[in-house]
Amino acid sequence: MSSTTGSPILETVNLRKSYFMGKVEVPALRGVDIKVEEGEFVSLMGPSGSGKTTLLNMVGMLDVPTSGTVRITGIDTSLLSDVEKSEFRLEKLGFIFQFFNLFMELTAMENVILPMMLQGKGKEEYLRKGEELLKVVGLGERMSHYPSELSGGQQQRVTIARALANEPALLLADEPTANLDSQTSIEIVDLFGRINKKEGKTIFMVTHEEELGRRADRIIRLRDGLVVG
């Protein structure tokens, strides 16, 4: 168990999201209240269609809730403009998606330094930091490789390094092992665990695999758009 500070870095209050298929309302989240403390490693689990990814999209400000509130570091994200949301994501959040989603025309190093470039950091700083992060994820020898020259696990490690590059307050991972074999999946989740412990990063990970979910400090379970445990 990692140490937490006791203040919620992430909090949702009565969060609701509905989609419309024609005129038919399909609720995906039906009033979700969760809290994640700073420094926690939390798994969000639930069966397919339970609203895990929808919740993650709301938390990551990639989508807008129908009602309710998302607070990250105490800030109500619904009050932010689109530009402020971009700035917020750049400064406070790190994303890891299930498809590795690297830029195929960039090397591992270039993929990792991209968020720092967007933050306006200097070349010397982002190159040093990029190298450091790739070493943390075990890819110190693959820095100038293109994604097509890396295995699935290695690509996901690059994504993790990229997600850490902007020194986020909250790391959001959406099924980060969905396209990996079981051994590599365990390695990736263990890497999350190490990052959580050593770097003190708060991690909010969506997964449907029980074994992987249990490696987190805490599990939040969703079913039919509601927190059930």
Binding site: L90, F97, E110, G120
Partner: protein, 397 residues
């Protein structure tokens, strides 16, 4: 948009272009040929225009003084020439006297005219005395009983094909003037002025024709070459105010058909250039559109990690501009190679050499037009890519 967004957008654009070498190479090549299409044909049209204008001015000078409407000749031409010579802006002035005549050689008869020129003065205005002599020599100031025949007329007078009665220096032609005077002239030379403007005239000296017509100190035309022909209408006005004793026409008025033809060619060249620009614009728009569609997921991720729309906009917009700049560079290189070859090996036409007329102005305008075109063509697909919904983009929808 701030500097860091610009830097990130340019970084992504440059990497995208460098990574897809084969496809990008083909795009560069297509755009290079589009640029050649835009600039090269325009330069050839300009070259054709220059040649035709050169023919017109080379034949008649920049301006021609004609007799007043009710008069056959310009009177007091000696004084007029002196007066013209004293005007600083005039490089040269010469008088010509034309008499209608029938020209006969070896039984072949053509209704033409004899043009009396001053060999000494003519060279300061027209290309006639300096033109290539196919045979013999050009006239000198005091020549009598001798004529020079332009090549086109010589061809017409040579009779039937295969009769071997070629007209050449030393042969004699018979000229029957309109006033009934019949003269036999020794052909002093065959000149090739490469212009149809002379094809109706046997060339004699001014004194010879005046003697035949029984006139003196008169001219059918006085032809003038101006030092600075940039504003001929102003020069014409100045000359009119000097009381030039005749009606003054500048070359564009005298050769209206050439002026109309060159205007039409420049318009045609511009039209082809515009079509070339449109083709290039369509190429760029399609490439940027396809590229942005293929990168939907990456655009979604880029925006998810905090890139603003401007980064995506800069990325694709910069690609369009890079395509245009490299297209221009390659196209310009091809154009210069082609133009250089055609300048040293011009296409020879009966009235002159056809070669491209590639000016810095034409190059500058074509470059600016090409880049503006790329900006317009790239802006919509770039804007469209930048405005994609993050979730839909991440899922490639």
């Amino acid at each position: 948009m701030n500097r860091r967004e610009l830097r990130a957008g340019l970084f992504l654009a440059s990497r995208d272009i460098m990574r897809s070498k084969k496809i990008v190479g083909l795009v560069f090549l297509s755009l290079a040929f589009s640029y050649v299409n835009v600039v090269f044909l325009a330069s050839m049209m300009q070259g054709m225009t220059q040649t035709l204008v050169g023919v017109a001015i080379g034949a008649e000078g920049h301006m021609t003084i004609l007799p007043k409407e009710d008069q056959r000749f310009i009177e007091g031409v000696g004084n007029l020439r002196k007066k013209l010579d004293a005007i600083p802006g005039i490089e040269g002035a010469t008088s010509r006297i034309v008499a209608g005549a029938t020209v006969e050689y070896k039984g072949k008869s053509l209704g033409r005219a004899v043009m009396g020129v001053s060999p000494r003065r003519e060279g300061r205005v027209s290309v006639l005395p300096s033109s290539r002599m196919v045979d013999g020599e050009f006239l000198t100031q005091n020549d009598r009983e001798e004529v020079v025949i332009p090549l086109f007329l010589a061809d017409e007078l040579e009779g039937k094909v295969g009769d071997k009665e070629y007209i050449r220096a030393g042969k004699t032609i018979k000229v029957t003037y309109g006033n009934g005077v019949i003269k036999e002239y020794r052909v002093k030379g065959i000149v090739d002025p490469r212009s149809f403007a002379w094809s109706n005239y046997v060339i004699a000296t001014e004194d010879e024709v005046e003697e035949v017509l029984g006139v003196s100190d008169v001219a059918s035309t006085v032809n003038i070459r101006i030092r600075d022909p940039s504003d001929l209408r102003r020069s014409k006005l100045e000359l009119t105010m000097q009381n030039a004793r005749g009606d003054i026409e500048i070359w564009e008025e005298r050769f209206q058909s050439i002026k109309d033809f060159t205007t039409a060619m420049i318009l045609l060249g511009n039209l082809v250039s515009v079509v070339g620009l449109i083709v290039a614009a369509v190429i760029i728009a399609i490439i940027i559109y396809i590229n942005s569609e293929g990168k939907k997921r990456q655009i979604g991720i880029l925006k998810a990690i905090g890139a603003k729309n401007d980064v995506v906009l800069v990325m694709f917009f910069a690609e369009a501009i890079i395509f245009a700049i490299v297209g221009i560079a390659l196209g310009l290189a091809l154009t210069l190679i082609g133009a250089n070859y055609l300048i040293t090996h011009p296409i020879r036409l009966p009235f002159g050499d056809l070669k491209p007329y590639l000016t810095p102005r034409l190059i500058l305008i074509s470059c600016i037009a090409f880049i503006l075109m790329a900006m317009v063509a790239g802006s919509y697909p770039a804007w469209r890519a930048a405005r994609q919904n993050i979730i839909k983009a991440i899922w490639g929808e």
